[in-house]
């Protein structure tokens, strides 16, 4: 029975991980840029929910609606003004650029919000739900459903909408897309905006479960990376599968080895996957 409970916990966590990773994976796949800022964007989204709830009484689940346009605009502007200039530079330079931007953002958050760990607690609490012997907190359950919903929405946007098709086209062949009349720079900016949106929107959801602090950003970033490698790069279903897999692995790993080894465990998993199946569980060969 314990096994089932741990599995359920892992899946709940995994749904949130999928949401974290999908935006990161999108930016990486389309722009070939590792967005080191991703973790800090998630934390910033968490703070937005924290203060929206504490000061204005806006429910964290609703604050996603505020976070989404704000973060999209932030990401669009950042890509438009800074990263687009460097997009053709070698990996080291784009990576270092987003690293520098991340240092600035996390330092700004540290100065504004201090390093204190804050917890978003709902009043009144939503209680728990029992399915047979499995008990799940309702707030976590809703957070997972919303996270999977957001990820599904991103999938729909990419596969159905006009701009989504343009993004996929640019990912497949930038030159050909440009020849077909796609404004590649604009698509890049929109893609980065969408990635930022996903990070900012998953912030409030994660704030329901984990404490909020500027120091937690790098951990989210690490998870997003592991999930991308697990599931395969640049595909939403890959991020979904990778996220759920990591959630389950971490849950069982905490049970067997102790929670302090969660990072080590996911890194070992990462190395194993990279060595055995570098294209990811769902990935296609040839995308690097």
């Amino acid at each position: 029975m314990l096994t089932l409970q741990i599995l359920a916990n892992g899946l709940v966590l995994g749904g949130l991980y999928a949401c974290i990773a999908s935006g990161f994976s999108l930016v990486w796949g389309v722009l070939n840029v590792i967005n080191i800022l991703h973790g800090s964007f998630i934390v910033l989204g968490g703070y937005l929910a924290f203060y929206a709830y504490g000061l204005l009484g806006i429910h964290p689940f609703l604050s996603i609606l505020i976070a989404a346009p704000l973060f999209f605009a932030l990401g669009y502007a950042m890509q438009h003004t800074l990263i687009n200039r460097m997009i053709a530079a070698p990996v080291l330079l784009t990576l270092t650029l987003t690293f520098g931007l991340d240092l600035m953002l996390s330092n700004a958050m540290l100065a504004t919000f201090t390093a204190d760990f804050r917890k978003l607690t709902l009043d009144p609490p939503l209680g728990t739900l029992a399915f047979g012997t499995i008990v799940l907190p309702v707030d976590r359950l809703i957070a997972m459903v919303l996270a999977l919903g957001l990820t599904g929405l991103l999938y729909l946007v990419l596969s159905r909408s006009r701009i989504g098709r343009a993004i996929v086209a640019v990912r497949m062949d930038r030159e050909a897309a440009a020849l077909m009349g796609v404004n590649v720079k604009r698509v890049y900016a929109i893609t980065f905006g969408l990635g930022t949106l996903m990070a900012g929107a998953s912030g409030p959801l994660l704030a329901m479960i984990f404490p909020i602090s500027p120091l937690t950003g790098p951990a989210y970033l690490g998870k997003a990376f592991v999930i991308c490698v697990l599931g395969g790069l640049g595909s939403v279903p890959g991020a979904m599968i990778g996220g759920l897999a990591l959630g389950v692995v971490e849950s069982f790993g905490s049970l067997w080895f102790g929670p302090e080894h969660a990072t080590t465990l996911s890194f070992v998993l990462l190395i194993l996957i990279l060595l055995v199946r570098p294209e990811g569980l769902l990935g296609r060969k040839g995308y690097a």
Binding site: W28, N32, I34, L82, R85, M86, A89, P90, V91, L92, L93, L95, T96, L97, F99, G100, L101, D102, L103, M104, L105, S106, N107, A108, L110, A111, P218, G222, F225, V229, E260, H261, T263, T264, F267, L270, I271, L274, L275, P278, A288
Partner: protein, 310 residues
């Protein structure tokens, strides 16, 4: 090669006279600068020559610091402990390199970035050996005065920097350096033309670790107390990269120049804005990457020792 060696020998000899004139503050700065120089020159092996964006400097630094500290805890004298630290970093990097260097680009970068986190967690949880989050105290060397101690660590760091530079010079002018530059330009082509890319890359990665490991151990002895978040700080990796980019990646003197300029900036500017230290570092990185990606030495390509040919 002879001319570069001569320039470097003069430079290091001049730096060696430093303790005769400097006060304790300047000596501390000088030791830090030499340490930064070692980190930058080491990163240059893998990042500058082979073009692999490694973020593993912090991992090697922390590993060296803890290997040295634990060795001293069990009674090894300082010099032996530093050698043990260098050796453990070398072995670790070789094994890690065999796994990680199969990855390219972003995959390699992030995988190397995570290594420091993992080591920090392991050190944190191995409380018996390392003291965990409580940190580890090191014996204070038995020396007459504070000044003598300061000079001792200055010379230790200077010796290490000299060795690192000599290794850079030898590597750059040998088949290894040639092969690494081939790998940087086009790894597949290099592989096809008979460069043993795996061997070369592992060599570069090991070289980027061994001196950093020793530097970590010297640092640990120098400050007498280490704790995981201090020595596994990812900023060591970032600073090494920034210093090399600042000076000029792949060149001989670029990393040293970068280290000197970087430390001057750190001391002159950031000391006054301690709250926004990392933010200003971030701004510097952004400006550097956008406006001077080839480093300061690229401004003076005409100088005879400008290193990398255009």
């Amino acid at each position: 090669m002879r001319r570069e060696a001569l320039v470097a020998a003069t430079l290091f000899a001049l730096v060696g006279l430093f303790p005769l004139v400097g006060e304790a503050y300047w000596l501390r700065l000088g030791t830090t600068m030499l340490m930064y120089g070692v980190l930058a020159m080491s990163w240059n092996f893998i990042g500058g020559m082979a073009g692999y964006p490694s973020f593993a400097v912090a991992a090697f630094f922390g590993l060296g610091a803890y290997s040295g500290a634990v060795a001293q805890k069990f009674g090894a004298p300082a010099g032996l402990a530093w050698c043990i630290a260098a050796a453990s970093a070398l072995v670790f990097a070789t094994l890690l390199g065999l796994a990680l260097l199969r990855l390219r680009g972003h995959y390699f970068a992030i995988a190397s970035l995570v290594v420091a986190d993992v080591l920090r967690e392991l050190v944190n949880s191995a409380t018996d050996l390392t003291g965990g989050g409580m940190g580890l105290n090191l014996p204070v060397p038995a020396m007459s005065s504070i000044d003598a101690q300061a000079a001792f660590f200055f010379y230790a760091m200077l010796a290490l920097a000299t060795i690192t530079f000599a290794a850079t010079l030898l590597a750059a002018r040998s088949k290894l350096g040639f092969g690494l530059r081939c790998i940087q330009q086009n790894e597949s082509a290099a592989d096809m033309l008979g460069v043993d890319t795996t061997l070369y890359k592992v060599c570069a990665f090991a070289l980027s670790a061994v001196f950093v490991g020793a530097a970590g151990a010297i640092y640990a002895s120098w400050v007498h107390y280490i704790e995981p978040p201090d020595v596994f700080d990812v900023l060591y990796s970032v600073k090494a990269i920034v210093m090399v980019l600042l000076g000029g990646a792949g060149s001989l003197f670029g990393p040293l120049l970068g280290a000197a300029v970087f430390l001057s900036l750190e001391e002159l500017v950031w000391r006054k804005f301690i709250d926004v230290h990392t933010g200003v570092l971030g701004l510097l990185i952004v400006l550097l990457v956008m406006f001077l990606p080839k480093g300061l030495l690229s401004l003076s390509q005409r100088l005879p020792w400008a290193g990398k040919r255009p």
